[in-house]
């Protein structure tokens, strides 16, 4: 039971964005994929969620291949992706944004239940239900984006730089929430971050990407304490 990526290679036309990448994330774990801007993190996530085609290699979730599947089908099977840049639909209200991930679910009772769980988790959303989500602050939008995915009762959550452009205090709060979700919602999480320190602090495992290749995989704790890794890739 896990996310297994093997020898995955992804191109953007002539540019090789991900080169022969392999890693495993056991269920119930939080893995941080860290790397500088342009390392290929977004490309990796977009391929795992079905938005982008891969060149070669494989990726399986609980033994089933996920490469080449359509994003909406992956979403329905429990793989939810929060793309970079606070993925909310600004023209819709907070309530409508949340509702999106429950539209297709048969179990309407559970949709209602999980919606109130999400509102408990992010009380600001509860106060803004009928506001256009374009009017939310950056941090609130990130909460809405994460909250929306939860409505689908996901198993695997792919998060693309949730800390981007947020104030340090808010980042801390978002990271703590993400960590708490793993247990609370029974999740496996792949957290992509440039903010290596913050991400490794809450992660179980760390995967360091550099120019499309994996340069280090280890427990988050080890990576944090490894002076060589720190100096070369983490910059602190």
């Amino acid at each position: 039971m896990s996310l297994v990526v093997e020898n995955l290679t992804i191109d953007h036309g002539a540019i090789r964005a991900i080169d022969n990448v392999s890693f495993t994330v056991p269920t119930g774990q939080l893995a941080a994929v860290i790397g500088a801007n342009g390392a290929g993190k977004t490309t990796l996530l977009r391929t795992l969620s079905g938005l982008k085609e891969s060149k070669s290699g494989s990726a399986t979730w609980n033994g089933k291949s996920i490469l080449g599947a359509r994003p909406e089908d992956l979403a329905r099977s429990g793989i939810m992706h929060v793309s970079d840049g606070k993925s909310v639909i600004a023209e819709l209200t907070v309530k409508e944004n949340l509702a999106l991930a429950g539209l297709w679910r048969k179990d309407k009772k559970d949709v209602a239940a999980v919606t109130s769980e999400v509102v408990d988790l992010f009380p600001v959303l509860g106060q803004r239900m009928s506001q256009a989500s374009g009017s939310l602050s950056g941090g609130e939008r990130q909460m809405l984006a994460i909250g929306r995915t939860l409505i689908a009762r996901p198993k695997l959550l792919l998060l693309d730089e949730p800390s981007l452009g947020l104030a340090p205090l808010i980042i801390e709060q978002i990271f703590q929430t993400i960590k708490s979700l793993v247990a609370k919602m029974n999740l496996t999480v792949v957290l992509v971050e440039q903010n290596a320190m913050g991400a490794l602090k809450i992660a179980d495992e760390g995967i360091v990407l550099n120019l499309g290749s994996v340069v280090a995989v280890d427990s988050a704790q080890t990576l944090l304490n490894d002076p060589a890794v720190r100096a070369a890739y983490l910059g602190f």
């Binding site: 938005l51 994003p71 793309s83 999106l100 991930a101």
Partner: protein, 298 residues
């Protein structure tokens, strides 16, 4: 005074028909990012089908229902079996910019030719279900008939239904989300392709309705709705191309402008007026009159 009231009434019923066409164009634009020039052909083809049913059953109402249903089916078919493969096939190269538009034009030509094959190119008349003779007010016959009233009422009801569909139902939410951000909609588990086909179906139905309401006051021939396509496009541009409310408001603005110019200056100025309005809006407020900020770049 009577002339003024008549002008208002005719503006409303003309604007109502433009609104159906602009709504159809906007629905497709929002979901597919292409101006569907074939809309004129789809609408007139479905009106021919409505006409055929009307002639055979003797009832305009059966014709109307047939036109709306086949309009929806034809719209959905075009998206699923024509536009989607084209988008799939043409992904790169400089032709990408013009391919979808050129494809809808080719389709327009094909539909109009097929109509010619089946029904010929001559003019047909479709009888209205209610009188098209103007009401008589204190001895004068005005240019507003019971049929015009029916047009106005039908379009109003349609718009109310569409508003409810879009704002109050789950399908409407899926339609809006898929239009605003197909990617986020997909990532939320919405089958955006199917939703898009639904948008084309609704647009096609609106076109069928437009034809059945417009043709009784005009003639039925393969190019019979070309002009309406232009007015629908101008209305949609006035409204910002992206907004359903804008499409209706734009249609009313155009309806009033055209009919007042025709009433008080000269009917010869109808087309120049429409064209000048189009150019002015595009130059002064390219995002449409109702957009607060960003005009679309693409």
């Amino acid at each position: 005074m009577l002339q003024f009231i008549t002008a208002i009434l005719t503006s409303l019923s003309a604007g109502a028909i433009y609104a159906l066409m602009s709504t159809a164009l906007v629905l497709v634009w929002r979901s597919t990012r292409v101006i569907n020039f074939a809309q004129a052909g789809q609408a007139v083809l479905t009106t021919y089908i409505g006409y055929e049913v009307t002639v055979r059953t003797g009832s305009y109402w059966y014709g109307l229902i047939a036109a709306i249903i086949t309009g929806a089916l034809i719209g959905a078919t075009i998206d699923r079996f024509f536009m989607r493969p084209i988008f799939k096939r043409i992904k790169s190269g400089p032709i990408v910019m013009i391919a979808p538009v050129v494809a809808t034009l080719g389709l327009l030509g094909i539909i109009q030719a097929i109509i010619g094959f089946i029904w010929g190119l001559s003019y047909q008349t479709l009888a209205a279900p209610v009188s098209t003779d103007g009401y008589k007010i204190s001895g004068t016959v005005i240019a507003f008939s019971p049929f015009n009233l029916m047009v106005l009422l039908s379009v109003t009801i349609t718009m109310v239904l569409l508003t409810v569909l879009f704002q109050k139902t789950n399908i409407g939410l899926a339609l809006r989300a898929s239009a605003y951000s197909p990617e986020i909609a997909k990532l939320s588990g919405i089958k955006v392709d199917a939703v898009r086909t639904l948008g084309w179906a609704i647009a096609g139905a609106a076109g069928g309705l437009a034809g059945m309401l417009y043709i009784p006051n005009s003639y039925l021939y393969p190019n019979g709705m070309d002009v309406l396509l232009v007015f629908g496009f101008i209305s949609a541009v006035i409204g910002g191309l992206d907004s359903l409310f804008g499409a209706v408001a734009g249609a009313m603005i155009l309806g009033f402008a055209i009919n007042f110019v025709a009433t008080y200056i000269s009917y010869k100025l109808v087309f120049p007026t429409a064209f000048v309005i189009l150019i002015l809006v595009l130059l002064v407020k390219p995002g449409g009159l109702f957009s607060s900020s960003k005009g679309r770049k693409d």
